[in-house]
Symmetry: C2
């Protein structure tokens, strides 16, 4: 491991070997299940990471913002699914990206959006590709497979002499899987996600639509599915790094989490049993995703600089640039001696997407060589 002492903190560390194993694990699973894999780049927003996902066999990317599509197009990624329902104020941006050579697929879930998108395409002599978002678990947006609305949205995607909006298929995201932890419940949720999305596609095909694409996914369901019959592609994002929430769900081991925040002890409150660091909520994010899980890690799991758990230090409070770790072990311990001012700790995050977004880049830990810097972007 490269030397970390002396580095200014907080610093976002990425364990490259763990990430590579996570990438290989997901890709080989998708290959075995016979589907194409389209990673969600909202987790990393980092060209170096996405290049490795593509090299492992990923085809195209999923984006949560048009900025991601734009930045990755500049990096040579020519196929993207924008997985948030499109609205008219974003049509011109989407068109502009298409004209720059991006094979961009958009998402609709209402007749209003489908009609507006079709009109926009016709007006501009372009054919937008669109998926209909399907609600397979009631957790957020989308059209239920049995809702009459499904056929109405499909019918509202229209073309005129090759311009307009073309129905490419259906997509769903079983975000409800994040609330589970029993393996059998995850397998059942994956099957529900698959079967309901395939049912929506079959209904559209029965109504005369081609519907070539059936896109499903979330990290928990992608890692739990036993069959993906009828599915053409899977999307997942956080698997690339994993985090405490994923470990709590049970789809990764703690040793597979590739991301951590390096911080420095800046002070103590011996009477209160506190160790204070320079990683507050600005570094960790305010994400408290493990709060509702069996084990609540506060703002993250505290480890030594080598990555070994220090379970007696609970990361209970955070200010903007202060992390407050509560010592829950032997009260006779001299905290200032055990964790001196200037010594370093590593914090494993609750949620990799949220913590990553607080930083401008990753400090990459490799087995050999010095710490590399991989930039990432943020914003819209």
């Amino acid at each position: 491991m490269p030397v970390l002492s002396g580095l200014e903190t907080p610093l976002l560390l990425l364990d490259e070997a763990r990430m590579q194993r996570n990438i290989a694990r997901m890709q080989s699973r998708m290959d075995a299940l016979g589907v194409r894999f389209r990673p969600h780049v909202k987790t990393s927003k980092c060209p170096e990471v996405v290049r490795r996902q593509m090299a492992a066999g990923a085809r195209g990317i999923t984006v949560s913002t048009l900025k991601e599509a734009e930045r990755f197009l500049a990096e040579g990624v020519t196929e993207a699914l924008y997985a948030v329902a499109i609205v008219p104020a974003k049509f011109d941006h989407a068109l502009c990206l298409s004209r720059q050579g991006l094979r961009l697929t958009l998402l609709v879930e209402s007749v209003a959006a489908a009609e507006a998108l079709s009109r926009h395409g016709i007006e501009h002599g372009h054919c937008h590709a669109a998926l209909i978002e399907i609600d397979t678990d009631g957790h957020r947006s989308g059209v239920r497979p049995d809702d009459p609305l499904l056929l109405a949205v499909a019918a509202a995607l229209t073309t005129d002499r090759g311009s307009g909006a073309r129905l490419e298929g259906v997509m769903t995201h079983a975000g409800g899987s994040y609330a589970l932890h029993a393996p059998e419940a995850l397998v059942a949720m994956a099957e529900q996600e698959r079967s309901r999305c395939v049912a929506a596609a079959m209904r559209l095909r029965a109504a005369g639509h081609l519907c070539p694409t059936v896109s499903v996914g979330s990290t928990p369901t992608a890692l739990s599915a036993r069959s993906l019959e009828g599915v053409t592609e899977v999307r997942a994002g956080v698997y690339v790094f994993f985090d405490l929430v994923m470990a709590g769900i049970g789809v990764c081991a703690r040793e597979e989490i590739a991301l951590s925040v390096l911080c420095t002890v800046i002070g103590h409150r011996p009477d209160a049993g506190w160790v204070i660091t320079d990683a507050g909520w600005m570094a960790m994010s305010r994400d408290r995703g493990t709060r509702t899980q069996e084990r609540d890690f506060g703002y993250g799991a505290v480890c030594d600089v080598g990555g070994n758990d220090i379970p007696q230090l609970a990361f209970r409070d955070a200010n903007q640039e202060h992390g407050v770790l509560h010592w829950t072990g032997d009260i006779a311990v001299d905290l200032a001696q055990r964790f001196p001012v200037g010594s370093q700790l590593r914090i494993v995050p609750n949620h990799a997407c949220a913590t990553g977004a607080q930083f401008d880049g990753y400090a990459v830990l490799s087995a050999v060589g010095p710490l590399a810097q991989w930039p990432r972007f943020s914003g819209w």
Copy 2:
């Protein structure tokens, strides 16, 4: 107001007139109380905002990261207090900034840090200026005014032929004020912050130290203090924008909050009573600061595009790029008609520092002229 329709969202809106009034209100209060005012720029991280604070009479800035000190030095701000206890890995960076012309004041709260800082100054032929952090409310870090440690830390700040570390004074931040809301409790907390910090200074002076600076502050106490006798400067940050937490504490009116997030309705779940927007937790941050206040606003207060409250829409859930607003009003309302796909809403944030940090800049609403863009920075 400039036209907002057609803009890509989420977008961080800043009401310039409200901000100017907030700046004037704080500065005139500090002028009346006879202290210098040193705004905390961690809230805005924006040169355009800080320029206006300085123009109103602020002297020097407070920073939460050395990056802030560096960026604002490049903008011509030559005096900064780094208000997080310094650690050895940051000494060289601090020295480098000093050598570039910044009058930088550092913070220590331990003998270990004071000794190391003194050694570093002596080794490099530089005299670091340092304040001792005082704990006046037990909420985070610092040395209690009556703790023997206070004199020990002061004694550990040493110089040799003009190099080393020089005790400039004491500072405190009554962050405990954030948990209050009764005016009399705020007045009492402001007085506690003042009196305990002044007591620490007097103890140091009695021991033979000069201790010229007595620096206190938080937005709630700065706006509640009746006397600042013995205090030489006040620091506050979030007052420049205010937010729902500050309104809940009672130190601003809702109409004084200058920040909001413009978002667009992207869909509905009529059966669940949900309106879904493109401002999720990535835009709002995960800050749920009003959770423990009398009124919990979820991820923010929902307003129409003109800024008028829509109290029936509760921002209860958020995914990365999806906000889920729950309709709590008349169940007969057709949500898709009342809040059509493509229509805009504005969300007032719980915590301006946290929400602001999610964006690359501010879209500035002025009484006259088009929407201006003010960049901001983030990271370390």
